[in-house]
Structures are given as C-alpha cells and as structure tokens.
Amino acid sequence: MKIEDISKKTDQLIRIEQSDLMPLPYPYDNPEKNPPMKMLTQEQRDRYEASLDGVLAIGIPKPQSAAEEKTFIDKFLSGLAKLFTKENNWTFLQPLMHSLEYCVKCQLCNDSCPAYIASGKKEIYRPTFRPEVLRRIINKYLKKSPLSPPPSQGGPGGLWLKFTGSDIDLNWITVARLAELAYRCTLCRKCAQVCPLGVDNGLITHEIRKLFSQELGIAPKELHEQGTIQQLKVGSSTGLSPKALSNIISFMEDDIEEKTGKRIKIPVDKKGAEILLMHNAGEFISWPENPEAFAIIFDAAGIDWTLSSELVGYDAVNYGVWYDDIQLARIAIAHAETAKKLKVKKISVGECGHSHKAMIVVADRVLTGDLNIPRESALPLLEDLVCNERIKIDPNKNNFPVTLHDPCNMVRLMGIVEPQRKILRKICPQFIEMEPHGVENYCCGGGSGFAIMQSMNFPDWRSVISGRVKLKQILETFHDTISPEIKKYVCAPCSNCKGQIRELFNYYNVWEECGIFYGGLVELIVNAMVDIEKPFIDWEWH
C-alpha cells in the first residue's frame, strides 16, 4: 500500500491474518492453534469508522451529514495549526518541530517497533507511517509555501506537492483513521532510541493524540472520561472513592495479619511524614498484595511514611501524560498539592511506570514554587533496604526462575535500570535477564494506556499484536524450564505492565500451559523476608 491510501475509501486498509504474524516459540509455534482475533460485529462496523485495520480503540461514530464531515475536518485543521503555536503547545513544540522536519526516512527505526514486527510488518504500523501522513497533511494544508497552495485555494500546487512527496487527500476518513492510528503505538519510544538524528516518532503520535483530545475532545473513554476526568472528580481513575479506599486499607491490614501473623497499622494522612507513598490505585483493587508488601517492608525497616486519602492523592496515575497536556498538568498539580497539605518531605512513587515518568520527569516542568516537592521512585529506597540489609532476606525462599520486565517509562524514559536488578540479584538465586533488556527492552504491549483500554476488539489486538514481542521474549527466557510443572515468575514493577501481562497470559493460557506467573517486585522481597514464615506469593492465578 501507499501512504496516500489512507485517504481512499476502502473496506479496510489492512487485514490481520494469523499466517502473517511474527511466529511465537513453543508451545505457541502452531499459528492455527492460537486464539483468533475477535472481529467487529456488523453493527459496530456500521456505526463506527473501522476501516483502518478492523480494530477499534476509540470508535469514532460515522458522520451523518456532509456538514458534520466538514466540521470535523475543519476542527482537525484548526487543532493542527495550534500544535505549532507557542502559547498552545510550548510544552512539546521544539521536539515536535524537530521530529517533523528532520526525519530522513532511512527506516532504521522500523525493526525496533514491537507492533510493526509482530504484525508481520503491516505498513500502517511502521513507525514512520503515521508521522509521514501528518507531515503530508501539514505540507499540503497548513504550510503557506507559494509553490504549494492547497488545491482548495485553486493554486497550481498539485505537481509540486507530488514532487516533494506531500501527496495526500484530507477527508473525513483520513482524519478518522489517523485518530485510530494514534492508538496503535504504545509510545515506548524504542524507535526514537535508535534514530541517529534524534527524531521521535513516538512523540509525533503523542502530539496527534493531543490534537484530537485538546481540540476535538476525542480520546479513548478509558483515558479521558473514565480516566483523567473521573480522577479529578472522584479521586481515582478506577472510580475508587476515599471511603472505598478506607475499606480497602482495613482489608489490607487484615490480609497482612492473615498472611504474616503481624498486625500492621497502615498510616494514612500522617502529617509531616518523611515519605508520601503514592500507588497506582489499580493496585488497591487488582493487586492489593502489592501495597500490602510495601507496608510490610516499610514497617519492618521502620520507615516514616504515609498514604493519602485526599482526592487524586491516593491515585498516582496521570493518564494525561499519554494524550493531553492540560489534563497532565491538572493531575500533577493535584498530586503536589496533596503532598504540600500533608507537609511530607518527599513523594515516593510505587510500582507504576507511567506515574514515575509523569510525576517525576514530565511534571518537573509543571510544578513550580512550593509545589515543586521532591519526588522519587520507590526503587532506590527498596534497593537501600534490601542491599544494605535493613531488612533480613533469605534468597532461598525465592528459589524459582525469575525474569524482569523493564517498564519503558521508568527504564528507557527515566534511566532507572539497576536498583531493581540489584534487588533481584540479591533475593532471587535463579534470576535471569530477558533479551534485550534494560533501556533496550521491548514494551509489554500495554503502554500509553493500552493496558486499560477495553473498547470492542481492542483487547484482542493488544494481545495479538502489541504484546506479541513481549510474550515471545518471556517464552524464550524460560525456554529451558517451559514445563508448567516448574513455576516461574515474571517480575513487572509496574501496574499497567502487570495488567497487560495478565491479559496476555490469559489470552494464551500461559499459566496453565507454561507455569509462568507474574507480579511485582515488592511481593518477591516480602516472599524472601526471614521473619515472614508463610510464602507471600500464593501462585494462584486470578
């Protein structure tokens, strides 16, 4: 297919066929036995624009009139123009302009994209495809070159535009497909890492998402209405209210007692504490053993810490980082205000990758004055506690194969590489690295919000395409111990990565067929603590 085909009215631009996909290792080496991707129903196809790849992450309703189409296109163009103004997009203007203007299209980045290679190299998933579409639209419809006035203005630009490679038609279908296409990239930025010219195709995707959200109000509902909007209103993107949190904390205290025999009072809203620990609220609901493990470790080490019950303050997530700068800033400020109110010395972010990047890195230039409260990852503190033996560890309690998944946000995008490894080397005698790992890791496939997006058949796409390389990596790492009788553990110190791995393992039945379990880092630490008698990891799939 050609790039300009994105504007052509066809039933579907590409089709995802099992036979085209990147092969998986044993026991998934027979493509016919692998679960097929769910197809959209005819009703869904009739209602939403699904002609990109037959998958819907956003689900843009089809227009009812020509006027509606025109409004949509006009709004898109006005948003596109705003992306290049300092007042509207100072936040990423320089990186955006660099990436749009200086890509030499050498395609060196192609093989670093997990979605592109997993799909069997489908053109629309190529990391340079999406930016090229945007670049052409900009050249044809936004730039005021005397040689290329848009045909709508009756200029003689057609040939010149073809000559300079800016041939594309802007119609409703182009815009709607581009919106969907912005949600086929996990923003893992592995492609950017290999670019010798510093071009960042992930950033261009991020900016396309912003355009749609900030101008047209279009974003996946899990990120926007049920995500940032809900978080700012109710307190958490999970819908968890302060009262429900209080109940969960009571449950956690009981659960800790049942598992360890110790009654630990989890501190909440303790003024002047050394550390405000912020978790992804998804942990409280889906994996309470993770915040429980933090509580056990901090209690054992005598750390002065607290949780917050303040709205937004008990949920470290900031989905704005994936699609909307205004929402990003609002949530970052709400997080900092929580810490300010509690007069804590610093914020420590639990096992959540994007919260790390949003709160510590990206929001660093949002928080000024007394809102600029020191913020750090919990991993260096955990490293200090484990490696300097501030808690007693018996590594033999973790004598099973363990591998580490590197969450892109805290590793490639933040440079926190070694603390988690030092801990694992100390507490897991059978720790084995994936290849590649560290800053060269592959995304879990759930990055940039994918792990929580449940629209129509998108979860299937996530398991079949974006998570495929990670599954392959995990299976290859445990190649020698792949039998389900040998229990193995993928350590993923990130809530969204865990969510994605859980879905991926469910989809391929990995627990039953290969005996591979997943979980966080702190669970492994507590599992190896000398004074915890019963195993903390229960090896029960749920």
Binding site: C103, G217, I416, V417
Partner: protein
C-alpha cells in the same frame, strides 16, 4: 557572464548563510519544553547501561556528575563514521557514508580553494612547486579533496539513488525531490570531475575566479568551469530547502531534547521561564478545556 557568475556566487553564499542562520535561530528560540528524556543519556555518570541520577536515593541532594565532553565525543564519533547505520545496516551505511564523505570533502574543497585564493592575493604561490610550505600543502590537499569528493559524490549518490529505488521500504518514503537531490549531487560531482580533468588537475582557474571575487574584479571562466560554478552555487541555494542542516540540528536534538535532563530547581532561571510560559492563554477548544484562559488558570 563574468558579472553573472560573480553575482550568483555572492548571492548563493549570502543566501545559504542567511537561511541557515534563520533556521538555527528559529530552532533555538523555541520555548523550553516539558522533559522528554530518552536513555542512555551520555553525559550521565551511569551512561554505559543507560542509568540516570534518578537511581539515587534523594537524588536532589547529591552533586551531579555530568560530562558534556563525553556527550560531544559520542556525537562526533557518529559524525565521523555514522556508527548507528554501520551497526544496523551495512549496505545502506556504505552508500550513505560515501555520500556524506563527499559532502564533507566538498566543504573542505571549497574552503581550500578560498584560502588558496587569499594566499595568492598575498603573493604566496599555490602550486606543486611553491617555495612556500603553506602554498605547497594547500595545493596538494586541494588536489586530493577535489577529485575525492567528486568521485565519492558520484558513487555515494548513485548508490543511494539505486538503494532507495530498489528497496521497497525505502522507495515508499522517497519523494521525487529526494531523487532529484541525488541526481543533482551526481551531476555536480560529474561537472567537478570533468573540470578537474580539463583544468590539468590543478584547479588553478577556479582559484583565479575566487581571487577575482575578493578584489571585485570578476575574471572570465571557460565553459566547463562556468558549468561547475553555476552548479555549485545552485547547490548552495538548494541546500536550505533540504534536510542537510541535520548536521547541526542533530546536536540540538540530542542536547536540548533527548538528553535534556536538567531538573527544575526552585528559584532557578528555568523556573522563571516556566512561570512565564504558564502565563499564556490557551485557545484549545475541547469541552474539558477552558478556552481563552491561561495555562495556570486551567
């Protein structure tokens, strides 16, 4: 024709300098952005495995070890032999490197010709029999860089032209303008090579042309040299419309974007800049945005 060639040359040099200055100033005047680091960050102490200062407990309390020179060396190494391409795709690297070498040699060749003209104006002979060591070496270097850049230009750009056309992944993303660029380089290099052969391998006439430009007394040029001068000047005018400035913007991209890990400290210049940026009105119009209000009022 003498006057035309002189005027075209003056214009071409002024044009490229002005255009590149505008581009660079425009780039550097863009506002400070939110952090978008990508690791490894080479100036960081733990760059070997991609580590950052965020690995330290209470990272804001410690002194940062930052090596600007290591970062610069890293980029220079990539400039010297395009390491990233060499590691990933040897055949593409081969043609790309040859074409880049030709470009760099063309710049050096032009500088040598201009310096040679200046020496001649100061009565220093530039020839293989020059009693002056500068004149002798300048002549020899010019003799080497000229044909080397022309031959590399023909080989490298022909290679790129063929590779980008033959490889379907590359062809899809190659515009006619890019093909035109390769052909232009090939034609320019061919004209230079013909002139070198025609001129008796000395480039004497080209130096004389430049001498004339310096004393505002344009000298006549034969047809072969005229073609070469016109092409090289058109090349200078053409360059600002290409991505050739990535030699420079690449440095900015690494230092100002990818490796920009400067933390925002209370009371710092950075913070002052950010406060100003937050004082701007937003015109985004989605329902959740308060259009017309400032960033700090949202």
């Amino acid at each position: 024709m003498n006057i035309f060639l002189a005027l075209l040359t003056y214009f071409a040099y002024i044009f490229i300098i002005v255009m590149y200055t505008i581009k660079i100033v425009k780039y550097l005047r863009l506002p400070v952005h939110l952090r978008w680091d990508l690791y490894p960050v080479i100036h960081e102490e733990k760059y070997r495995y991609g580590g950052s200062y965020f690995e330290g407990l209470n990272w804001w309390t410690g002194a940062r070890q930052k090596s600007f020179w290591r970062a610069l060396r890293y980029l220079m190494r990539d400039y010297l032999y395009l390491e990233s391409y060499l590691k990933k795709n040897f055949s593409y690297w081969l043609v790309l490197y040859t074409s880049h070498i030709s470009f760099v040699l063309l710049i050096i060749f032009q500088i040598l010709i201009i310096v040679g003209a200046l020496l001649s104006l100061n009565d220093i002979e530039v020839s293989r029999t020059s009693p002056n060591i500068s004149g002798y070496f300048l002549y020899r270097f010019t003799q080497f860089t000229g044909p080397a850049c022309f031959i590399a230009g023909i080989a490298g750009n022909s290679g790129l032209l063929i590779t980008r056309f033959a490889n379907s992944d590359l062809r899809l993303y190659t515009s006619s303008f890019m093909y035109f660029g390769y052909v232009f380089h090939i034609v320019l290099s061919l004209s230079g090579l013909i002139f070198w052969l025609y001129d008796g391998y000395s480039f004497l006439q080209y130096r004389e042309f430049w001498k004339g430009l310096f004393i505002l007394n344009p000298v006549s040029a034969n047809t072969v040299l005229t073609c070469f001068i016109i092409l090289i000047n058109l090349h200078l005018i053409y360059l600002p419309f290409t991505r050739a400035i990535h030699y420079i913007t690449r440095l900015f991209a690494f230092f100002l974007i990818r490796w920009d890990d400067e933390p925002n400290v209370r009371g710092s210049m950075l913070e002052k800049k950010l406060i100003k940026l937050f004082d701007q009105k937003v015109s985004w119009s989605a329902p959740h945005i308060q259009t017309g209000k400032k960033w700090n009022e949202q």
